[in-house]
Amino acid sequence: MSLIASQLALKPLNSVVDRDLVTSALSGHEGGFEELVRRYQRPISAYVYRMVGDYDAALDLTQEIFIKIYGSLARYRPEFKFSTWIYKIAHNCAVDYLRRHHGREQSLQAGSEGDSYDLPLESGMLTPEQESERKERRFEIETVVRSLPAAYRELIILRHSQDLTYEEIVEVTGLPLGTVKNRLFRARDMMRQQFIQRGITGI
């Protein structure tokens, strides 16, 4: 076992930085990779869910992504941010999935209000009225996001749901910076038009 891995064995895993957890997982330390999964399972599953629009498929794809991440850990270079690196793998898996399920992607693009899009979300500490209102507003916004073409939708998710910077989005998607800016601008504009068409006010 390497020096870092032996030092990690003495620390609680939730206080260890990603890079050291990668080293720990690579040296076969039990729990190292599990802690990485625990840290990123929620953002990755949320990203995947918004990309594919199906809860079960999102769980399967999230698992597939983490298996790929585990298989590629040796290729991870510490000079890059770990979160950006795993989003890149998640992006590739999501793009492959959408390519394989082209029909589903078409239906997502043409998604109507009547479609079920009830997010299986964890509820926070809100009153029932606030919760209901928040759910309704979220439903509207998620429907609009879902109606965007995948190329635009992904950028909106990466920026607003995953809070990635432009530079990180460039790394994840492999698009030029100008294209990222342009698509984000157009996506927001499309969304604003849709909010107006749907009579959603206050946005």
Binding site: S45, Q63, E122, S161, D163, I203
Partner: protein, 190 residues
Amino acid sequence: MDQSNCQIDQIASYLDDELDGVALSQFKAHLIECPRCRAELADQQRLLGTLNAALTNKSELSLPPNFARVVAAHAESDMSGMRTSTEHRRAFQWCAILAVASVALLGVAARTYLANLLRTVARPASIAVDLVWTTIYDAVTGLVVISRVISKGFVPGSSLVRLFGFLLLGFAVLVLSRLISNYHRTRLID
């Protein structure tokens, strides 16, 4: 107000904290002078606020219990998840060692059976091979002896006489075949 300097896409960059240095100063200066950009900024700000509030990961997807443990276990047990060439080489070595050990154990267990089987098959096989070999050897030896005896009886010592003998033999064969064909023709006419 100079609207020709308006760069609407700069508003998004500004709101996303992606402008800095000179670009940021120029944009701020332009914003003071341009009501159109200020209105657009306010619109986009509201939209971004709504999007951030609605899509933020604070409201996360509900996951099955022990999802991380299950996923990590699947990843770690997946053979295709072996990460380095050293791991592949080590796995191959272990497979080879296990294969050799399995064969050895099977060999010990089946030794008596295999030995009896080999003994039963080997003896008749060796007798049959011996018989065939002796037959072929004897036949070839016999043919050689017969041909030598015949050639000694028919072929005299001098080469001229030997040539004459061969010619005579050839002539005799021709005449004989002619006589035989004549005989058959005569019988057909009769």
